[in-house]
Homo-oligomer: 200 residues x 2
DNA sequence: GACACATGTTGACAGTGTCTACTTTGGAAA
DNA sequence: TTTCCAAAGTAGACACTGTCAACATGTGTC
């Protein structure tokens, strides 16, 4: 599939790339260092020269995923005013989760390696969260005055959007068996409710 | 730990019980049929007489977890009026996620077996969701008139509460490194925002 | 040229899920 | 009571996984 027998420094990058490809097509649970090595045409131990353990390659892949996610959010069409712009961001968030459900599950699916042990992964995740904070700050200048007010509002917005994305990409259609019309309206309805929730 | 050498019909029940115990203490990822068998003092193949595969025992455990979750929600202190009662439910939801984080991650962590293949698991999950719908119907009788209106509001509420629980139990304190004061206020602040979001 | 170090290879080990074949056992039918 | 059979449990094997250790190879520096 990819170029055979990748060597040298490229191998580290190639492992991340191939690992992300595996996750995007088959999910995190079927990521294996041996399979990565096999696809790259190297021995099963070669990746270990670049990553301490499976968790370390996973952390690198997650960091990469957060980078792409943040870039996608940042490249959204800009709204006419702060309020509209925040809604654009919500739509972009949900669109990304729908377009790359397995990658989304990778980032928020709770089988990540211990964050404390992988600071680079944490940094990329925090950056994605900061984009939301920034968009929100433009909408709610008042909240920024209170101690932690902005964080609290951001947490509300993120919890709601993340929760909806999580439900739509993992359970809803399947486990909850909600009618199609509800699923179609879900995004718009929820974003409107978020707007009301932010009012003071 | 448990009674040695469980036999006969009890073994099925014992497997679910022991499996849930393993998940509660070590997480889903370290659940193994062989470990379950070992703890129960039977051969590594004995559980397979009661469950077709690892996914089938996992589905049974998830169903059990949803039962307990629903029972906990149903046993909440009842609020004075519908609106206050819905808030009680939100608090109960978040309290459960905090008390049993690994069990919560089991139910909503996205590494479940295919729901379509495990109808009993689906049924238990839907029942938990229906409790929320019922509490919400008392608050929003108007929404029940519109086609799917109740489902949409329920989806908003659930997404928000689930999202917050998911963030608090998996990433927040760790990956996002939010200040303690924010975490303490998060529940009350978010529940208040949900209330505003439901207004018409 | 000799040495060191990074990179890659090979082989082994314990752990897992699952397949197949064997033994045991408890209860119904004769 | 004896017979028989299906359910329940056991034992061994297989392929797969992550990881450890020892070995090979090459590249760049003293």
């Amino acid at each position: 599939m990819t170029e055979r027998t990748v060597r040298n420094k490229d191998l580290r990058e190639a492992c991340i790339h191939e690992g992300l490809a595996i996750i995007e097509s088959d999910g995190v649970e079927s990521l294996s260092l041996r399979e990565v090595a096999r696809r790259l045409g190297v021995s099963h131990q070669a990746p270990y020269k670049h990553f301490q353990s499976r968790d370390h390659i996973l952390a690198a892949i997650v960091a990469r995923a957060f980078e792409r996610f943040a870039a996608y959010l940042d490249a959204r069409p800009r709204g006419a005013n702060p309020r509209e712009d925040l809604a654009e961001m919500g739509r972009a968030y949900l669109a990304y989760a729908e377009a790359y459900p397995l990658q989304y599950r990778l980032m928020f699916g709770a089988l990540l390696p211990d964050p404390a042990a992988h600071p680079e992964m944490m940094a990329k995740a925090q950056h994605a969260f900061s984009l939301l904070r920034d968009a929100l700050e433009a909408v709610q200048p008042a909240a920024a005055q209170e101690e932690g007010g902005l964080d609290l509002d951001a947490l509300f917005v993120w919890a709601t959007v993340h929760g909806l994305a999580s439900i739509l990409t993992t359970c809803a259609g399947q486990t909850l068996a909600l009618p199609q019309s509800v699923l179609e309206q879900a995004c718009a309805h929820t974003l409107a409710a978020i707007g009301r929730g932010l009012e003071r």
